[in-house]
Amino acid sequence: MTPAESAAKFRARLRNQAPAALALLPAAIVVAVVYVGSMLMTARLSFSSSHMLPTFDWAGGEQYSRLFDTERFVESTQHIALFGVLFIVASLTLGFLLAVFIDQKVRFEALFRTIFLYPFSMSFIVTGLVWQWMLHPELGIEKTVRAWGFAHFTFRWIVDENLVVYTLVIAAVWQASGLVMAILLAGLRGVDAELWKATKIDAIPTWRVYWSVILPTLGPMLTTAAVLLAVSVAKLFDLVVAMTRGGPGISSEVPAKFIMDNFFGRSNVALGSAAATMLLVTVVAVVGPWVYFEHFRRKGVRA
């Protein structure tokens, strides 16, 4: 290739790529300023002593040692862990069961599907308010069952500091298990009809087929569903605000709310930033590998 040729090629390449590069500019700016810039600033502030206004002095790990000394933060992480495990397991289980039962050539299939999935269209604020009323001892289920004649029936999980986290799980499972059903149902519909014929000839019980044959083939879809659910765990905030406001006491507090309170209510920017940074590190540690395997390694990115 002569220099002239390679220069021409370079110009051609520039002509081809320059508009694309320009088109990517807004995204690049967002990535640089918002995603990377804000993360770095949050991380930096967590090592300062900022109160109401951000200052960029150096306070070392002071905020972190205070953070792990703060009962509310430590309990918040325990609540979110308990909530996360129960929510994901229960949603996957219920969603799988719903999908399997709907897959039995039932009548009114479309109706059932609609019913199971509609809560997913609702916001966490609406979900939280609905369940707060359902579970309120002086309004909801307890009052109703008592009115039916069971005068000593009690169902007060939402005002019980040991059980309130489970009420968050109930509400969140109500909202999200239809999503799992929808994803898995698509997977079930992809199962080969020949497979069913074969298992029928061998007289294998249906539940065994689901358990040992179908379930493993749904692996990728289960992973997808689990990741989508996991995302909403780390972001859990709206539901708590609408449903319990973190109470009774601090028994349903979550990290996201701790962060918001410290940023905007308590003029404690440095401590809030430290908590946000902890959240960031946890999420990246969990999600980073998944993103890598899911989108880069298996297929490679076609640029």
Binding site: Q17, P19, A20, A21, A23, L24, A27, A28, V31, V33, Y35, S38, T42, L98, F101, D103, Q104, K105, E109, F112, I115, F116, L117, F120, M122, S123, F124, I125, V126, L129, W133, M134, I141, K143, R146, A147, A182, A186, L188, R189, G190, V191, T199, K200, M221, T224, A234, K235, F237, A242, M260, F263, S273, A276, T277, L279, V291, F296, R302, A303
Partner: protein, 295 residues
């Protein structure tokens, strides 16, 4: 992914015990999913006296829509008693430009990433992907400062920009994956014909984008409508979306708690995404699964 129309499960036999069991399970599950909505609708139709006397699932003796009209036009959020309709108008004002801006930006970025080899493109994409999973709290404080500094904190512009920013990862992923699945020959042919970046986008790519745009619109309309924390933090007093206002209406009480009005307001707030869901049906399902499932 597309949901095949035919159930693939085992062939149904006659009405056996296990068939009955299937229906019992499905009906029981339906009750769990429907009861909260049912209770809300019933309560919103009852006068307060009936709510205090009876229970949540009792049918109203004298159904009334009074609570609905109060919720819509007179419910108080502190000082102002103009009802949830103000929030509805604000949510629409936020929704329309946010949906358009975030989809346009996502489509453009997705197109550039799918067909062009721009240096650093992969890095941008990787960070966006991870960013999609990071809770907003990590970004909120610096963004508030940056927005205050540019002068768009607490404005309509600010909240539209915010929704475009936080919609970017998912929208980019959606469009990039969709465009990657299109036959590349079309793109190459147009290129050989001398079409440029925008020409190919306009004449080749966009005409084929209808299905993915529908999915994106459904996702963004429900997502932005249901947002609470971003509206709370960035929209400012004059633009508070319906979810924020709903929470204020429920938290503001004068004298007795008006459950009928609260529940009517809640149903009104949920009405739009619910309608989108009921109307769009299978597209909705495709939308929620699309971003994470390949293709």
């Amino acid at each position: 992914m597309s949901a095949a129309a035919e159930p693939a499960g085992p062939r149904p036999r006659r009405l056996t015990l296990s068939r009955v069991g299937v229906y019992v399970f499905l009906v029981g599950a339906s009750a769990f999913f429907l009861l909260p909505l049912w209770a809300m609708v019933l309560t919103s139709l009852k006068p307060m006296s009936e709510i205090q006397q009876g229970d949540l699932f009792q049918l109203p003796h004298t159904p009334t829509f009074a609570a609905w009209s109060r919720a819509w036009s007179h419910a108080c959020t502190g000082l102002a008693c103009n009802g949830i309709s103000v929030g509805f108008a604000n949510s629409v004002k936020i929704l329309v430009p946010s949906v358009v801006a975030s989809i346009a930006l996502g489509a453009l970025t997705g197109y550039a990433l799918a067909f062009y080899r721009v240096r650093g493109g992969n890095l941008v994409f990787a960070i966006l992907l991870v960013g999609a999973f990071i809770p907003y709290q990590v970004f909120i404080y610096p963004l508030v400062r940056i927005f205050a500094w540019i002068g768009i904190y607490g404005t309509l512009t600010g909240i539209v920009v915010i929704h475009s920013i936080f919609g970017l990862p998912f929208m980019t992923l959606l469009f990039r994956n969709y465009y990657s699945s299109l036959p590349r020959e079309l793109f190459n042919a147009a290129r050989v014909d001398g079409a440029g970046f925008l020409g190919i986008l306009r004449h080749v790519i966009l005409p084929m984008s209808t299905p993915i745009v529908i999915v994106a619109v459904i996702l963004q309309v429900t997502g932005i409508w249901n947002d609470f924390i971003l509206g709370l933090t960035f929209a400012g007093l004059a633009n508070q979306p319906m979810t924020v206002q709903l929470n204020n209406v429920v938290a503001t009480t004068q004298g007795t708690v008006e459950y009928d009005v609260d529940m009517a307001a809640t149903i009104l707030t949920a009405a739009l995404p619910l309608a989108v869901y009921l109307v769009s049906g299978r597209w909705f399902v495709r939308g929620i699964a699309a971003g994470a499932v390949k293709g």
